[in-house]
Symmetry: C2
Subunit: 445 residues, 2 copies
């Protein structure tokens, strides 16, 4: 491995990874509306020297909101609040390229980068969700190819806007009444098939040059988007072999865009259930599993697979299911592979997923969790993980207090932040501007 250290983000999924997390005695059902819940979780992550907090997002009401604790506060506002209450932790938020305009996204994330002293990252998603399309005046979800074609243009525009002020454009010459040097501003004049943007952006280049680009690409289009733009990839994988193959494929694709292997940090999702003994951990998992209403799990899994599952026998082996062309390929593929490999019934599958979306769950003592993480890291299956503690903030607190020290003792994880920005934490260089004289040729539309 060329990376000396693991990278660990925490995915602040409402009350925790398990759909039942909000039902535990320790949880407040309305915590997802309380900014203090997010801030406290981020402060624990910072105490554990994690790289970043990560917020998922869909601009619609979750399926079966009656049964589920879900995240719905707008992520960039949440991260701005966290920025004000922390010093080091990175701040990654999801925003959809289908339901936003690139000028607004470029501006909001650049502002977050300025406000946080260089800690912002943008997770690029295309949003395969029918309710979202109805919230934005569309008759139906745009098809997969159209969503990704727009996402390619959108992401390139955002990068160009982030570069549209040279680093030294803000002159501030009081005597000459010259605040900015117009020769160091660049209109981007982008005219694509889906989007046209004149630019320049209306604020100076941000501390990181550009906020970190994050993506989670499972489909061919998605992997290509990640290979071209992503600096951090949030992946899904149940085995080291499939995760290694995925990471290798991404880096091969990235090489075609002239990118070296170290410009890409691959972080599979990892849900954790920790106990002081293995038996205690298993009991906690069972308790959480028992509290998941099967009706909820059916609805959520059906939404992920794009299939109405109520037609199937819960206790028969999972039938052959064809993934709809327009769905969320990443999770559907991972879930079906997992069900086939372990020969699960529909009910077993729902329970084994924790009501979640297909990410791997590890259950055990701090030593066992650390062993698993080390094994994947050394096998080249992961540069680290996007952690999803079972329950928040308690599951993260346990991780930080018990697993992190073991990883530190083994020399796998930092004992202190040795940089300032999210790029510093991730070992990513501050990028030169596309408009700099010696920059690589600008990618054309």
């Amino acid at each position: 491995m060329s990376r000396r250290h693991l990278h660990l983000n925490v995915n602040i999924l409402h009350a925790g990874f398990f759909a039942s997390a909000w039902r535990l005695p320790e949880s407040r059902p309305g915590a997802f509306t309380e900014i203090a819940h997010y801030v406290k979780t981020a402060q624990i992550a910072e105490r554990g020297k994690l790289d970043a907090v990560f917020l998922a997002d869909t601009p619609s009401l979750a399926e079966r909101p009656d049964l589920r604790s879900f995240l719905s506060l707008e992520p960039t506002i949440v991260l701005a609040s966290i920025a004000a209450a922390t010093e080091h932790i990175g701040l990654i938020a999801t925003a959809s390229t289908t339901y936003n305009e690139p000028y607004n996204v470029a501006r909001r994330f650049a502002t977050l980068d300025h406000a946080s002293g260089g800690r912002a990252g943008w997770n690029v998603v295309t949003t395969a969700d029918a309710q979202a399309s109805a919230n934005f005046g569309l008759e139906a979800v745009p098809d997969h190819a159209t969503r990704y074609a727009r996402a390619q243009e959108f992401t390139e525009i955002v990068r160009l806007l982030w570069d549209s002020w040279d680093d030294d454009a803000l002159v501030g010459d009081k005597a000459a009444a010259r605040l900015i040097d117009p020769a160091r501003l660049h209109a981007i004049d982008y005219h694509g098939r889906h989007l046209s943007v004149a630019g320049p952006l209306n604020l100076p280049r941000s501390p990181q040059g550009r906020p970190v680009l994050v993506q989670a690409g499972g489909s061919d289009d998605g992997r290509d988007l990640a290979a071209r733009f992503a600096e951090v990839v949030f992946s899904v994988g149940q085995t080291p072999e499939e995760s290694r193959a995925y990471a290798d494929d991404l880096r091969r694709r990235a090489a075609r865009y002239g990118r070296g292997p170290d410009t890409l940090v691959v972080l599979p999702g990892l849900a954790t259930v920790i106990g002081s003994t293995e038996a205690e951990a298993k009991r906690r998992r069972e308790e959480l599993t028992d509290l998941i209403p099967v009706a909820y799990g059916l609805s959520r899994l059906g939404a992920t697979l794009g299939v109405d599952l109520t037609q199937y026998d819960l206790d028969a082996p999972l039938p052959e299911i064809a993934i709809p062309a327009n769905g969320s390929t990443t999770f559907a593929q991972a879930i079906l592979a997992h069900a086939r490999r372990d020969g699960l019934t529909l009910r077993q599958l729902i329970l084994s997923l924790g009501g979640g979306t297909g990410h791997r769950i590890v259950v055990g003592t701090p030593e066992q969790i650390a062993d698993d993480i080390e094994h994947w890291f050394r096998a080249g299956a992961a540069d680290g993980f996007n952690l999803m503690p079972d329950v928040l903030p308690t599951g993260l607190e346990t991780f930080v207090d018990t697993v992190v020290p073991i990883l530190q003792q083994r020399g796998l994880f930092r004992r202190a932040y040795d940089g300032v920005t999210l790029r510093d934490h991730l070992g990513l260089d501050r990028p030169a501007s596309h408009f700099a004289a010696d920059a690589p040729q600008r990618l054309s539309a």
Copy 2:
């Protein structure tokens, strides 16, 4: 007056009201990119017991950025940062109905209301700016009537989304695995000429029920939008008579929508230059005026009037100018009335505006400023003011330390916050939901 107290907001205009503010020795030219600048200004405002901070916005680069210190950080991110560092002060941000989607705006402001414990307000603007349209893929600025027709639909949708969860929809019944009661959620199913949105919003009703709606309407369409929706109106007026006439007109229009006079708080803009003697204040104003490049003032005034002014003699009386139908009527009308009334040349007009946009400037001792404010308040010309200190944060600090105590001694302004939310500060009721059984008939699309 039915209102017992003045209401005072501060408009955080980059380095201050004067276009030259950044050139003073006390100013840092890059302060507009520093979150600490905004937070410090807001904390001073809170120390002065002001109602709210207000952030203007245009999603494009300002005209002549080389000469001007301008605000460009995205306002909702800035306000989220301020929320984390303050306890009482209201938080009002501008967002354009022409260059956003209503679902995103509803969500971001509702999130800010949750994150701040009920202190958010949205200033609704339609954005008459050619550069902005080019940043969002449009060939030209949509015409005035189209912008306002979209704004009417947009604002109604946002209000309905804010009401789409009943106040008690979040049940949180752990035993019954019932987080939310779906019967207390409301799809809005809005289908207008410009916008269609299904809803419901994906988060609970916010502490204020709905964030406060703010508007600044000068044209007939703008006044109608304000009369229908606005709870705070940011107006422009150089004399008590014209301001009183404007406020009376707005309240007459509001009455047609069934609204009482106290549901509308009218706050003219007021720029302040304060000195410990009148001579000192005048010297400070002269210093600031002398530092405004005439080229900048010409460019900015030309943009406001929608006319290329370089064709005119700087030292001749201002010629007759027709306001283009598609421009920003409010400021153009105010500026031309001011120039005619005082018989100003073009150069005198530019300097008399402080390089600003047409708001009234008062220059004097703290007593004189307080007298002016009291006179306008008692004359029914204003319910308070949207303050624009000459230089930030120093001009606000002086206002808070010298003018506020006089207003308090006279019983015109609060000595302490006696409520929690921005609605409390403004004396506005928490609105019942449109979907409540006993709510007034929902306005139809």
